[in-house]
Symmetry: C2
């Protein structure tokens, strides 16, 4: 997905919020903000938004020498969701449709996104999770099951800390032996790295790899070669969150995107309301004759 003009005020806002979180020094904040304004003024709008996000957060790390500004936030959300892991697991197991419940929770957990919400708090997350079972979700169970059954290998691109506990709960409902989970290569916003996969116990269940990149999405040209190979060789891909949607919606692979549409630009691109739960496949199954 390209960047839209509406992304630009958001880049500027996010820059100031992020650098202010990391540095008390007005001069550092000002230097970063001015650099980003200059950079954005000549940015190529055909690039996906996470490319500018990557540049902004690289600059913040460079100017502040703080390599993982969201470290505490990531731990907080991993632990907060882990503390309720048993309860969510029971909820899924006792549901009339465990798979749909797990999918809904995994999408609802995508609200834990410090890029979209600087003022993220546990109350908002709780509300998103609690309402996840009653919100509209367009999906075709048979098509989904068939895609999973037909695939020999599934690559699951995780997104944010905290959210990754819900990914684990969904993965438990899928054929785990087929699944490889991929995380970001380096800290960026509250996106997951190997440390988060370890913290929430995913390492003991499935293969976990990192993509070698510090973008808040999956910019294939910036990822490590073995990840890109795996991306192209996997039969099916699950991609969580806005950043992965923005960077892979035109990748030409069979991808199920699972996300909450948190901003008007994404919602317009998808054709849904802001806040909607989205399960969207790039290669929708061709309608069979009887359905036409």
């Amino acid at each position: 997905m390209k960047s839209y003009l509406e992304c630009i005020p958001c880049f500027v806002r996010q820059t100031l919020e992020s650098v202010s979180m990391v540095s008390e020094e007005e001069s550092v904040r000002e230097e970063v903000l001015r650099s980003v304004l200059l950079d954005v003024s000549s940015m190529d709008l055909s690039d996906p938004p996470p490319l500018m996000g990557q540049r902004i957060h690289r600059l913040i790390r460079e100017k502040t020498n703080i390599l993982d500004p969201y470290s505490a936030v990531k731990k907080q959300y991993n632990q907060a969701v882990l503390a309720r892991y048993d309860r969510f697991q029971s909820q899924i197991q006792n549901a009339a449709d465990p798979l749909e419940t797990a999918i809904r929770l995994a999408i609802a957990g995508n609200i834990i996104d410090c890029g979209a919400f600087a003022d993220l708090n546990e109350a908002a997350v709780k509300k998103s999770i609690e309402s996840a079972l009653n919100e509209p979700l367009l999906w075709d169970r048979n098509e989904f099951r068939k895609a999973v059954d037909d695939a020999e290998s599934i690559l699951y691109l995780a997104d944010n800390a905290g959210e990754i506990v819900f990914d684990r709960l969904l993965i438990e409902q899928l054929p785990m032996e087929k699944i490889t989970v991929a995380v970001r290569g380096y800290p960026i916003l509250n996106d997951v790295t190997l440390a988060d996969a370890q913290e929430v116990g995913l390492m003991d269940m499935v293969d976990v790899i990192d993509n070698g990149s510090d973008a808040p999405g999956t910019i294939l040209s910036d990822c490590r070669e073995d990840f890109v190979k795996r991306f192209h060789e996997s039969d099916l891909i699950f991609a969580k969150g806005q950043g992965n949607y923005e960077t892979l919606s035109d990748a030409g692979r069979d991808i199920f995107f699972l996300l909450k549409a948190k901003c008007p630009v994404i919602a317009r691109d998808i054709g849904c309301k802001v806040g909607a739960l989205i399960l969207k496949r790039t290669f929708a199954a061709a309608p069979v004759a009887a359905e036409i």
Copy 2:
């Protein structure tokens, strides 16, 4: 008041909102937004925010050839408040304290600010007006009355369309013969010009002058000489709204600022909550011995 880093995301947001209101052409929106990003990247933060506002809106006018983008909005709010003029006038006349009621309404009317609120709507205005009588307002009636009584000439700097009807209602409670109302010299946002003063009937009541400037505030160095002379020769000044506060809070004159503190930056500068009703005098009366 200087500009703060927090003003910068607001400049960028306001630019896109304003140019999008005026032009459907993506290329025009993009050109304006990129120009503003570049301009803001090197702006002097010691300038008050309305200076950048002036530059942004000059650029929008220049690129779109639309000289008064907010013309319809100004008319809408002037007429909406005028339609309720008799009701507000009765409310003031029947109040236990007509002056305080008129002051509260005049401040509450400052919510009609398209710079602060792109999504301004009549429901929000109604709410602000209705709650104005019950919100805290720090003022000293005796000090206010004495300042008005002692002054031989009062300059009243108006701010926005719609709001100016409330200014008229307040002016009716003051010694009108002492008062000159000043408006902006050219259209800028939904700020008032001579046309608005005419439309709401102020011209028939008091002297009305324009300041010769197209800034959304009062930048003295940008105003016409006769206005500046009047500004310095008036015994007392009333200044409505954020833009006038931002540009005149350090002017060294005896000014009563009347505004709603609509953004966190202003609220912090004043030391109040966002949304508060503010009546603030620059030259607070010196405490007399008995009060110390």
